[in-house]
Symmetry: C2
Subunit: 360 residues, 2 copies
């Protein structure tokens, strides 16, 4: 196997999938995993076999990949803008699967409704969830405005199932609990806003991997009805640092070769940003973790070089192979065409990254 190569430990993957399925089921939460993390038909099917209610995707392109593979329940968790190019694709998808679209503005509601209306033969209606912001300050309306958008969607003939939010401010040390509380408050307020407008709100969807364990679902008397975590399938260095998992629960890694040892305290790996990604929030100490060299830090990253300093630990030799746990697994998966699947220490299979690059 040539390096850099992306390895998946299928035993760890299975355990991660089971753990989240069990944790959400125990709390009465539906699980609708975000498949942008793995982009893999094989893994999505596994999530569904373990009880997932459907899948979440970020783009129509991802939805198309999974719909073609026969997955029938897809939520595009994104504030969709259905322009001329996307309208026929949306209609085709809506005829193929039970499709739910995210909206966060009156303009996007009207575009979506117009796209659906232009297709007389459409038998399966497009369902919508209104996106609300719970503190990330990315997309989504204020929870109190959710009713206004939902009413517009209902009047335009769309089936409104409820609301969704992404508590992405969970991605910082000490923040997961607060983000989960913000998520619960925003979803409750948004449901109230729909109720005030005379609309039910059966789906109150939240979830990120760092905040998932603290999401307030039915089992805890909370308002959240479903979660959409993605990263938990593989985990990564960010999740280790945030405390969402241990290093032994990381199921994806990058195998690299030491290509240079230019100084006594420095070594260079052939896994650069074109496989590891440049993702590095300020609270992450380097460009990935090196489990076999815990005192080393990857201080520099270029397209095809990772430079590590040894700290007080040893330095590998030129030609040695070193495992890197990447900071953000979603980026890594999207950079490669195939994954080397490892079981009991042996590469047993290769999996394609089915939806790689499906950005639009």
């Amino acid at each position: 196997m040539a390096t850099p190569a992306v390895l998946v430990d299928v035993g760890r993957l299975d355990r991660n999938l089971h753990a989240m399925a069990a944790s959400t089921a125990r709390r009465g939460l539906a699980l609708r995993p975000h498949v942008k993390t793995h982009k893999s038909i094989e893994i999505a099917r596994c999530q569904l076999r373990q009880g997932a209610a459907g899948i979440s995707v970020a783009t129509l392109g991802e939805a198309e990949t999974f719909a073609e593979a026969g997955l029938g329940e897809i939520f595009v968790a994104y504030p969709l803008w259905i322009d001329q190019e996307r309208a026929p694709r949306l209609r085709a998808l809506a005829g193929q699967v039970r499709l739910t679209a995210g909206v966060d503005s009156l303009a996007s509601v009207h575009q979506l409704a117009a796209a659906v209306r232009r297709h007389a033969k459409l038998e399966v209606p497009v369902r919508v969830l209104v996106e609300v912001d719970c503190g990330l300050r990315r997309s989504g309306v204020a929870p109190a405005d959710a009713g206004r958008v939902a009413v517009a969607a209902a009047r335009a003939g769309l089936a409104v199932d409820g609301v969704f939010t992404f508590p992405g401010h969970s991605y910082a040390p000490g923040m997961p609990a607060r983000a989960a509380a913000d998520e619960a408050a925003a979803l409750a307020d948004a449901a109230d806003s729909l109720a005030a407008a005379g609309l039910p709100c059966p789906v109150r969807s939240g979830g990120s991997t760092p905040s998932a364990a603290q999401a307030a679902g039915p089992g805890d008397g909370g308002p959240v009805t479903e979660l959409r975590p993605g990263v938990y399938a593989y985990n990564d260095a960010q999740q280790v640092i945030l405390g969402s998992c241990t290093l032994d629960e990381v199921a994806l890694s990058v195998l690299a070769t030491v290509v240079s040892t230019p100084a006594p305290d420095r070594f260079v790996l052939d896994a650069g940003a074109k496989v590891l990604g440049y993702d590095r929030p300020a609270w992450v100490p380097g460009h990935g973790l090196l489990p076999a060299f815990p005192e080393a830090t990857v201080t520099g990253l270029w397209e095809h070089h990772a430079v590590a300093v040894t700290g007080a630990g040893p330095r590998p030799a030129v030609g040695d192979r070193v495992v890197v746990v990447p900071n953000h697994v979603c980026t890594v998966v999207n950079l490669v065409d195939e994954l080397h699947v490892v079981r009991d220490g042996q590469v047993v299979e290769r999996w394609p990254v089915d939806a790689r690059g499906r950005n639009s």
Copy 2:
């Protein structure tokens, strides 16, 4: 065309290629452009037609893509470690093209020589350039050690053509001139080191886009004989900020759609990190430039969202299309399978990214 889409302005691309070809020729410098930027057979051929001496690549996989397309002169500008998997590939390449490999250690020299020796029928020898560090502190030996590595390579039967360095510390405001001076000093010292060992050093290869204009070549009585810039073909926000080019000389951009305007001073684009890349050195003010909204800053980036704040300028509406100049073009090109080629404002063609993902 669905957004996000990567657009190439072919008029600007042509001008950029011509300008670098003319600038290097005028100064007596050979040009061996690094094709990891564009990964495009079409553009590499254009560079050769305009007088490039060959191409530089980062990996054997990139070399294979371009060799299969008939390009005959390839330098793998990387400290190669020729393991069991790579040895047959290297031999195949060496039988197909005039191949030059980078080395920066005795171990890598011995591996390379062993890989070549195991193939009795090899008619075209593998040539080598010794990598020296000129201040980036990435890979490369100290210039004074170049002779030692070169002697080992010559004794092992490899043809030593000279030395190379990458003045990548040019990537910071105010640094291009200093990096060019460091490059010249390191290449001169390295050539002296080879001379002291009785070896000629006809190739003294340097070059990065920010430092290229200040490289000290024959025309200026300097030691540099060739340059390997890559980014200049397209340019990007980093080059604009460093002063290597103007905004009008950026030939690649990302077309995005405004999908949300959640606050009066904020808008959200559908071009996220999976097309723009997370690359953002501390001296770059945002995640890409917005030429039509010069007062706006892209303050936040997620996989499928770019969040911009308007500053004192206007805010586009949901559904508007906005052009983003990405921070680092090499990352963008490697994230997509095809480019939309624009001439005189019209999309006239699509080009594949031939070597996308060829990381190993």
